[in-house]
């Protein structure tokens, strides 16, 4: 980073020029917002005596839709690229779950790249205001952090959706079995959709669309598994295929799958209750290196100056990062190894 604050110079291309430019931009934004507020205040006076328009779009939604249109335009331009389509397939799972605007996986990829570039822009301007230029190394770091942030956000929304279905799986299987004793599968699906809400309802609606299009019940469950990656759906699909050929009917297949999934969920819950405190202990300890690092910096700003200036210091930073990653992978290994039932 280079500090180029110089009070005497005032030429084009130096830092004070950029700072003035940004100042004028800020003033312009304040004027625009003030004018918008005035217009809203005037509209409030007439609102009770007028009819609401058909397209009642707020200002932020308008700009959000513009952003979405820009990304779809980019996706249309790059629709023939092999790389985008190859890595966009991994994001096809997010389509109806994470964001209602994007209908393809490649659009999610492009939105992540654009988000990271905007992230870089904001941070670059923030550094410019204080008089610092950024290196290539720091620019790459900032882009990486932007990508990681938005990827984590998308993944977290999807995993919350999956966890909802996992929690409600046992309940909706009992209700489905109860309906199947008297009704057919189509009727029981419709009754279930009226009873449930949230993620399970959305998933069952998609299953209903598949069945009414003409697919078999087994294929509907397999498509559910491909969308959500929950193993229970695959178990049910295997039973639906095997049981009628062995000598039973569809109710027998659902009862068998219900019994196996019940046992599995009971065992997982038992394991979780017995081993929960160890996981919490490990996850709590994973925050301590960061806390210690920040405390040291708080009390003495130059404590870690040797690490950045020498080669051995950078090696030690590298080793610390690797050991930290090994620790987190070890936690994951312990948790995964015990719940695999």
């Amino acid at each position: 980073m280079v500090n180029v604050l110089d009070n005497s110079t005032f030429k084009i291309g130096t830092i004070p020029f950029f700072q003035l430019f940004l100042l004028f931009l800020l003033i312009g934004m304040i004027i625009v917002v003030h004018s918008l507020r005035n217009s809203v205040r005037k509209e409030k006076r007439i609102r009770d005596f007028s009819i609401a328009p058909d397209t009642d779009v707020s200002i932020l939604k308008y700009y959000r839709v513009l952003y979405v249109k820009f990304i779809k335009y980019l996706a249309f331009k790059f629709k023939d690229s092999v790389l985008l389509n190859k890595y966009g397939k991994y994001y096809d799972v997010y389509v109806d779950v994470v964001n209602p605007y994007y209908k393809k996986g490649s659009e999610f990829l492009i939105s992540e790249i654009v988000f990271s570039l905007l992230w870089l822009l904001i941070i670059y301007l923030a550094f410019l205001l204080n008089g610092y230029f950024l290196n290539v190394f720091l620019i790459l770091l900032v882009l990486l952090f932007g990508m990681l942030f938005i990827m984590y956000r998308h993944y977290k929304k999807f995993s919350n959706y999956r966890k909802e279905i996992d929690k409600a799986f046992y309940e909706f299987m009992t209700i489905l079995l109860a309906f199947l004793q008297k009704h057919s599968f189509d009727q029981s699906l419709e009754l279930l959709i009226n009873k449930t809400q949230g993620a399970v309802k959305a998933e069952l609606k998609k299953m209903q669309v598949d069945i009414r299009y003409g697919l078999s019940i087994q294929q509907a469950f397999i498509r559910c598994y491909e969308r959500t990656k929950i193993h229970n759906f695959q178990i049910i699909a295997n039973y639906i295929y095997a049981v009628p050929n062995v000598g039973g009917n569809i109710v027998d297949s659902f009862t068998l799958s219900y019994n196996t999934l019940l046992d599995k969920s009971k065992m997982e819950r038992y394991v979780f209750t017995r081993t929960f405190k160890f996981y919490m202990f490990l996850i709590f300890l994973s925050f301590i290196p960061c806390v210690v690092f920040l405390c040291f910096l708080f009390f003495n700003n130059d404590y870690f100056s040797l690490l950045t200036s020498t080669i051995i210091g950078r090696l030690i930073i590298f080793i610390i990062c690797i050991v930290y990653i090994v620790y987190i992978l070890g936690i994951r290994f312990i948790i995964k190894g015990c719940v695999r039932l």
Binding site: G248, F304, I312, I320, V326, I334, G337
Partner: protein, 215 residues
């Protein structure tokens, strides 16, 4: 046949390396590691043979033992579902031979593939009991369960009880494995903390001193 070859045969299709490749790669890599470490480490020669022995054993553990344990647990879980289908077929009136054949045809599982291979041997002249005894199954419990079905009560009205016994045995086995894994967790946490967390904290706290040592 050595122990290692038996383990790799049990893995079958899911083995990362064959026996011959495994032994050759292990031998060559330990040799090169030994020589390379001798060149690098200038003061503490005592640790080089220890590291090579560790690597020699870790090579086997990571590539054969752990995959085998995961595979056997998955195999037993799938075979439980297989035998539940068999019990359903038997409750609808089929005998054990036909129920095993139909479940093996329509339920995709490694046990079913092995059973179909045994049925092909029956076509060429073997009896069913011989073919089942000669089947290559990675877990001992599943093989004992299958063999116990081939008894004198196969064609009588008591076949339902024998199938229920098999299902109970496998469920008890899964409970036992669950308890084993619960017992492993505190040991694994302790090892993780000692080997990974404590050096991490020491590195962060004494980073300055280490840098000054080398300079």
């Amino acid at each position: 046949m050595t122990k290692l070859k038996r383990k790799i045969d049990r893995l079958g299709y899911y083995a990362p390396l064959s026996y011959v490749k495994f032994t050759r790669i292990r031998f060559l890599t330990t040799l090169f590691l030994f020589i390379y470490l001798l060149f690098i480490i200038e003061k503490y020669y005592f640790y080089v043979p220890l590291i090579t022995i560790l690597y020699y054993n870790l090579f086997r553990v990571i590539l054969v033992d752990w995959p085998l344990n995961f595979y056997v647990s998955r195999y037993e879980r799938d075979s439980l579902q297989f035998f539940e289908l068999v019990s359903l077929a038997v409750s609808k009136g089929m005998n054990i031979e036909m129920s095993l054949e139909s479940t093996a045809k329509y339920f995709n599982c490694d046990l079913s593939y092995a059973y179909i291979a045994a049925l092909i041997e029956v076509k060429f002249g073997k009896s069913l009991v011989e073919a089942v005894n000669d089947m290559e199954v990675p877990s001992q419990i599943v093989k004992e369960a299958l063999v116990s079905l081939m008894n004198k009560d196969m064609h009588t009205n008591k076949r339902m009880e024998s199938v229920d016994k098999v299902v109970l045995k496998l469920k008890e086995n899964m409970h036992r494995e669950m308890h084993k894994r619960i017992k492993l967790v505190p040991i694994q946490t302790l090892l993780l903390l000692l080997i990974v967390f404590v050096p991490l904290m020491l590195l962060i706290v004494y980073a300055k001193d280490i840098v000054m040592l080398f300079n």
